[in-house]
């Protein structure tokens, strides 16, 4: 049976219901849904009422800035009802038709090609329970791996760190460790300069809007596109901020190989280094400052250590090569005079540096040796007196006035598996771990794998140096035989997509389960698909744009919204078909495995919501029943709120950072202790040519550098593909031609003409890892020698055998072209932000 035929049809109608409003949450803002007769008919952004807390105000001269009384939403969130009713919804448990758990031969080679048959929930949960028991008995719990995605649908109880982690921790499993996917260089590099291990190596972000509006003259956005990446989850609350900055006459410079969406509207100057050469540009800026003595010598003296070593490198004392603007021009392609002008302007004006989405992140950090660039970003601001009024790290989209002391958890905080919320917290008893980017190696080879570091390394900087191996020696370790995938699709968000496809088809993988609402990504490779309901079909409790509460990866992330909004996520409609919420799917499996009581503690989902509510400050401001009915609460900013910008204390005291010296370390003490002789991450940051860039040997064969930034009109793959035909109509997201919506690739007219490519032509982008068909958008926005295509198509549609690099992929899975290689020898961060490719007109059909 074809799964497509299964998923079509109409939602169940609940008769006699009137129109009602329903509040929910998504990655792109608060959802206000209108439900009529059991159907979602409208989704709006939230407009605040007079009953809600007043908005903050910032006075600058004779102007008073205050945000619009609403939570802005993104286009993918406004269109979220379309993906509820998407044609590729999985409405029933589906079993791969040639998969028989009672047979030895599981026909794994057919994964990605087979059709599916509908089965009942009873059958599905029994298959999972039986396979779990079989594998546990035969190989031990260690042979079962469960893998969350970097993201899932919004929620707290239903989030991966909650229901998923609790369920699998009760059973024990090989945890797949996430890598620092969007902020690699900050964790692996900047952290060794200024600490902040507890927040991914990214800097504190408090009260910097106030600082910027009042004190800054210039904003440098480096590898940052706030109009595309929205401070991750803050939707468009910062659009108005950038208009304010322009109204106040602040100069905005954008440094990016692609003239990005922020640059085309707000930049006074676009500087386009060749991909992978950003660190050379940074070194040359430092050269100008040292040469012209325009850095803050006093500050460097009192607030930093190891500056001489950096100066020795920059001025050429170390290696005989002064890092002059002329030197950098040859590498980056940026004219030396412009590098000098930028350096002088930066030194002269009080400058905010926004290196990435939230004053950190950015494509340049997800690239080979991206840690070197991130370290240099800190060096540069340190040379200009980081923490001085108007001189800070800020990407225009964070650190608004906010009452951070009001406590409410964020999705990484653990939901159902947190002391005080759960009566019993479960810790995974299995010691073996596997790094996510090594999953394909684990499934395709017999190599003993090793890496250093533990996931996001949030415990300490030293954690980065902890050696791990897979498989662990017996009896603790064993190769994985079963994989349970939860959350958004890895095809096509993970690098080297074809290698993942080959891994999913490996005979080593005896059983592969995917829990997902849509038939896409790895669901098409699964033996069993468990139909998850979408966030609009389930209850939950969560805060908009809160990833980490007061602790966790990004503490107080919601201060990048104009208003903090906590939502009782109401169930708008019953789950479509036989889909179930993530909480209920794990409940179903727990019943089949006899661990129901352990998993749920006899509590239904509202009971868990109530426990979270009781554990937070919500209990003090609004009765539970009122919150449940009203749907949301706006956290006020106290009238006596005093602005205290990040780094102000450090600026005053010259100490207190979480580095061994408490100061900014140009020369890193942690690296000196653990990695004193690593040429790929020296004690002082260096420009090291990318192994996948214009100076690498592969460039002779594949001369163009493709950059793959975070997508603008979807959240990763979550709103793309068959899920949302409306987004397809946005010509910056997909372009229609000959019956299909193609993924666009931006190419400079010079490169296009050389290859006979015209605007609107179908082209194949290829290298040794893959062949991806895209539609050409010929534009000066791509710098010569580089291509731009977003990273996260939800469609992986190889014409030919899945996983074969020669099979033309038609969905726009450009991650089939990027590499899974570690960014450097001892830093396991991945580096997919750029890849060497060639492009040609595609003559296929």
């Amino acid at each position: 049976m074809n799964i497509k035929a299964q998923v079509r049809g109409h939602p169940r109608k609940m008769a006699g219901q009137e129109e009602r409003k329903c509040y929910n949450l998504d990655h792109g803002g608060v959802v206000v849904a209108t439900v009529r007769d059991g159907k979602i008919v409208r989704v709006q952004p939230l407009y605040l009422s007079n009953d809600d807390a007043p908005s903050w105000k910032i006075a600058v001269g004779d102007r008073v800035f205050t945000p619009p009384r609403r939570s802005n939403a993104t286009q993918f969130t406004i269109s979220i009802r379309r993906r509820v009713y998407a044609s590729n919804r999985v409405l029933y448990p589906m079993l791969r038709e040639d998969f028989d758990p009672d047979k030895e031969d599981r026909k794994t080679e057919n994964r990605g090609k087979s059709k599916y048959v509908r089965i009942t929930w009873k059958e599905a949960s029994e298959i999972v329970a039986k396979e779990v028991r079989r594998i546990r008995e035969k190989y031990g719990p260690v042979a079962i791996a469960a893998m969350m995605s970097s993201h899932q649908m919004w929620g707290y109880i239903n989030a991966s760190y909650s229901a998923f982690t609790r369920f699998w921790s009760i059973l024990g499993y090989t945890e797949i460790l996430n890598n620092s996917d969007s902020w690699e260089g900050w964790s692996w590099g900047a952290e060794h300069v200024w600490g902040f291990y507890w927040r991914l190596g990214l800097p504190d972000q408090y009260d910097l809007l106030d600082d910027a509006l009042k004190n800054s003259d210039m904003i440098v956005l480096w590898s940052a596109d706030p109009d595309a990446t929205n401070s991750t989850y803050a939707a468009y609350d910062s659009v108005m901020i950038r208009h304010w900055l322009k109204e106040l006459g602040k100069e905005i410079v954008v440094i990016d190989p692609y003239c990005n969406y922020t640059a085309v509207r707000f930049a006074d100057k676009w500087i386009a280094p060749k991909p992978g050469t950003d660190a050379a540009l940074a070194a040359a800026i430092a050269y100008v400052w040292i040469k012209e003595e325009t850095y803050d010598k006093q500050y460097v003296e009192t607030h930093t250590v190891g500056f001489e070593k950096w100066a020795d490198y920059v001025m050429g004392k170390e290696d005989g090569t002064p890092k002059t603007p002329e030197w950098a021009e040859k590498i980056t392609g940026v004219p030396a005079r412009e590098i000098r002008a930028l350096a002088r302007e930066w030194a002269k004006k009080r400058t905010m540096l926004g290196p990435g989405n939230r004053a950190g992140m950015g494509g340049a950090c997800r690239a080979p040796y991206g840690h070197e660039w991130a370290r240099m970003m800190v060096y540069l601001q340190a040379m200009q007196g980081l923490g001085k009024p108007g001189v800070n790290f800020w990407s225009t989209n964070t650190a608004f006035p906010s009452w951070e002391e009001f406590n409410f958890p964020g999705y990484v905080n653990g939901g159902m598996n947190v002391p005080g919320i759960a009566k019993q917290v479960y810790l995974n008893p299995v010691k073996q771990k596997l790094l996510r980017t090594l999953v394909p190696d684990a499934l395709l080879t017999d190599k003993r794998l090793s890496w250093r570091g533990f996931g996001f390394n949030l415990g300490s900087t030293e954690q980065q140096f902890q050696l791990n191996v897979y498989p662990l020696p017996k009896p603790d370790g064993a190769p994985i035989r079963m994989l349970y995938k939860f959350g958004a699709a890895y095809l096509c968000t993970m690098p080297d997509g074809n290698r993942w496809a080959r891994a999913y088809r490996s005979p080593k993988l005896e059983f592969f389960v995917v829990q997902n609402p849509w038939f896409e990504g790895e669901a098409k490779f699964a033996d069993l698909i468990l139909p998850a309901a979408t966030n609009l079909e389930r209850e939950d409790i969560a805060e908009w744009n809160n990833g980490g509460g007061a602790s966790g990866a990004i503490p107080h992330g919601s201060n990048s919204n104009a208003h903090r909004i906590i939502v009782y996520m109401q169930k708008c409609i019953e789950p479509l078909g036989e889909s179930k919420s993530d909480f209920h799917i794990f409940l179903e499996l727990a019943k089949a495995l006899g661990i129901e009581q352990e998993y749920s503690e006899g509590e239904d989902v509202e009971g868990w919501i109530r426990r979270v509510y009781e554990s937070s400050d919500m209990k003090d401001v609004m009765p539970f029943e009122e919150f449940k009915r009203r749907g949301y609460y706006v956290v006020p900013v106290p009238e006596n709120d005093v602005s205290h910008r990040s780094f102000a204390t450090f600026y005053e005291l010259g100490r207190g950072l979480a580095t061994p010296t408490g100061k900014i370390e140009f020369e890193s003490r942690t690296l000196a202790k653990f990695d004193p002789k690593d040429p790929e991450r020296p004690l002082v940051a260096h420009y090291i040519p990318s192994w996948e860039g214009p100076e690498s040997p592969t460039a002779a064969k594949y001369p163009l550098v493709l950059i793959t930034p975070h997508v603008r009109f979807s959240f990763h793959s979550q709103h793309d593909g068959e899920k949302n035909p409306w987004i397809d109509e946005i010509p910056h997201h997909r372009v229609y031609k000959d019956g299909r919506y193609w993924w666009p690739v931006w190419i400079n007219p010079v490169d296009a003409e050389k290859r006979g490519i015209k605007d609107g032509d179908l082209v194949k982008i290829y290298n040794d890892r893959g062949t991806v068909v895209c539609i050409a958008r010929v534009s000066e926005r791509a710098r010569p020698g580089s291509l731009h295509a977003y990273q996260a198509s939800a469609i992986y549609e190889p014409k030919g055998d899945p996983g074969n690099p020669a099979s033309p992929e038609l969905g726009g899975c450009v991650n089939a072209l990027t590499s899974l290689r570690f960014m450097s020898k001892n830093a396991h961060g991945f580096a997919p932000a750029h890849a060497l490719v060639e492009v040609a007109k595609w003559e296929g059909s």
Partner: protein
């Protein structure tokens, strides 16, 4: 009385497509008789977004986005083309295509000088933006596109209300020309032949730009006075920034101008330009006196 009007501030638009998507959300799968029938997934752009890349890559490639709904003309050519009164203008200025009466009347689509009407192949009806009349009639203050705009670039209101923002902006706002609506965004604004209820602020106008370099040092030439001369008169002027860059907007198509560069220490320079679109002068070198 109520007469609805919309002013779209192009200088505020960031091209997020929220307006387009909010429109899809309002109308997809939803019939609102007697105003409209459902909008299909594909092929209809009740608020279409045209864009113009301003190619000054050594400075910045600016992109201007121009959202284009139905202009809700006072004297609509589509109504003239319609039979049986299938298109009518309400007292508040909103133009409605009756989804029943208009069946089979494809000529209504062709009559629109702005290309704002779409043919629904399945239903055999012409369809377009209604200013969300079904919502306004229920007391909503603005249509879905304006509500979803994060930049407040779509200002909507009652033109007869002397206190309304839209009325304050109305007089100085420009009317889109059919040429602009069809994609030639740098062509001159329209003459309001049909009585448009939609006007614009900040429509793109041809620009001249360049990057000035001091010939003797090779450095970016900051502080050079750049003047665009129209005959003997100075039309516009600017000072180059720290990168030696300047951008001056507001030229007219098919005209000749002289761009003059002046600096106390360098010999002045004049360049003649003929405007057929944006003019990127690239690198302009000044020699020391």
């Amino acid at each position: 009385m109520t007469r609805y009007g919309m002013v779209i501030d192009v200088s505020k638009c960031v091209g997020c497509y929220n307006c387009f998507i909010a429109c899809k959300d309002e109308f997809w799968g939803n019939d609102y008789p007697p105003y409209s029938k459902a909008q299909p997934d594909h092929g209809q752009y009740w608020i279409k977004i045209a864009e113009k890349e301003r190619n000054f890559p050594q400075i910045v490639v600016r992109v201007d986005y121009v959202p284009m709904p139905c202009m809700q003309c006072k004297d609509p050519p589509c109504a003239k083309a319609a039979k049986d009164g299938a298109v009518y203008v309400r007292d508040d200025g909103i133009v409605i295509i009756d989804p029943e009466k208009s069946k089979g009347q494809k000529q209504i689509v062709d009559a629109c000088p702005y290309g704002a009407i779409y043919w629904n192949e399945e239903l055999q009806i012409p369809q377009k933006c209604t200013f969300c009349a079904h919502l306004l009639d229920q007391g909503w203050k603005k249509p879905r596109c304006a509500e979803a705009c994060p930049a407040d670039a779509i200002i909507f209101g009652n033109l007869d209300d002397t206190r309304s923002q839209v009325r304050r902006l109305w007089k100085s706002a420009e009317v889109l020309s059919p040429e602009q609506a069809k994609g030639d965004l740098l062509s001159p604004p329209g003459g309001d032949d049909h009585g448009s209820s939609v006007r614009y602020i900040g429509l793109p106008k041809p620009m001249v730009g360049g990057s000035v370099i001091f010939g003797d040092t090779g450095e970016c030439a900051e502080g050079v006075a750049v003047t665009v001369m129209d005959g003997g008169n100075a039309l516009a002027s600017a000072k180059t920034n720290a990168f030696g860059d300047f951008l001056i907007e507001g030229l007219e198509l098919n005209r000749k101008y002289v761009v003059r560069f002046e600096h106390p220490d360098y010999a002045s320079k004049e360049l003649e330009v003929t405007v057929s679109g944006d003019i990127n002068l690239g690198e302009v070198k000044l020699e020391r006196r």
